[in-house]
C-alpha cells in the first residue's frame, strides 16, 4: 500500500509527473491554483499507487510527498 500527497499550490502544471506514472493515475485537470496553473490531480483509485516515487523524482517543484 502506498499513497502520495500533492501540494497543488506549488504545482506549475508541467505534466512531467503524468508522463512517468506507471499506474497512469495522474492527470492535469481543470483545477487552477493561486498562481493560475492548472494543477496535477490523482485519480480516485489510490490503492493502485505503488509508491515508486517517479512522480516525485521528476517534479521540478517538489510538490509530491510519497508514503509507503
Amino acid at each position: 500500500m502506498a499513497k502520495i500527497e500533492i501540494n497543488t499550490e506549488r504545482c506549475k502544471g508541467c505534466g512531467l509527473c503524468v508522463t512517468v506514472c506507471s499506474q497512469k493515475r495522474l492527470f492535469i485537470g481543470e483545477t487552477i491554483n493561486r498562481s493560475g496553473y492548472t494543477v496535477v490531480q490523482q485519480t480516485d483509485d489510490s490503492d493502485t499507487c505503488t509508491g515508486c516515487a517517479f512522480c516525485a523524482q521528476i517534479c521540478p517543484d517538489v510538490v509530491f510527498t510519497v508514503y509507503k
Binding site: 512531467l16 521528476i58 510527498t65 508514503y67
Partner: protein, 246 residues
Amino acid sequence: MEAVFKRPESLTDIPTHFCPGCHHGIIHRLVAECIDEFGIREKIIGVASVGCSVFLYDYFLIDVLEAPHGRAPAVATGVKRANPNAFVFTYQGDGDLAAIGTSEIIHAANRGEKLTVIFVNNTVFGMTGGQMAPTTLPDQETTTTPYGRDVETAGFPIRMAEIMERLDGTKFVARTAVNTPKNIIKSKKILRRAFEVQLNNEGFAFVEFLSSCPTNWKMNAQKANQRIQDVMIPYFPLNIFKGALN
C-alpha cells in the same frame, strides 16, 4: 505508512521562479538532498552565478555569495582558500561557465581547487530570453541564431565535461541528465560523489547536468525532456569521465 520521499529540509519554502518543467528545480532538489544527507547545511558557502539560477540564496537555507557573470569559480577559489573548512560549491549555467567564464573554470579546475562545480547545460541563455549559448547545437534555432546555428560562423558546441577531464587538476568529472526518473536517480549518485570528493578533501569535482529549457526551446516540458534524449545526449554523451562512484 511513513514518508519515503519528502521535500528536502535545505530547500526554503519560497516557490521557485523557474518555468514549468525547467530542470533547475530538479537539480536544486538533488543538491538540497545531498546537503541534508551529508548534514552540511551549516557549513556551506554557495557561490551563485548570473543566470536563471542566480536566486540560489532564495531557494537554499545556506550562506550564498553572488558572483559576477562567469566569475564564480574565481570567487569560490577565494572563499575556499580563505575558509577551507567550509563546503563551497558553484552553480552555473552554460552561458556563465562556458562563454564568459571559460577562463575561470579552466584555471580553477587546473589548480585543483577543492570545489564542487554544478554546471547546468540547457544549450541557451535562459534568463536573457533564449540566445545562443556556447553549447547551442548545430542548426539549433535561438533568438540570435534565427536561421539555426551555423558552425561556419558561430562555431561548435563546447563539451565542457570532456575539457574538464583533460585537465590534470580535476578529480571527478561527470555528465548526467535529469530528463527521466532513471537518469535522475543516477544523477543523485553522481552528485553525492561530487560532494564527497570535496568533503574528503580529494580535489576538484565537476558535474555537467543536461537540462531542459521549455520556454526558450518553445516546447512543452515533455517534448523538452524528449529533446534531451534524442538530440542532446548524442552530442553530449552521459558518462563519468574521471573518478568513480565508489
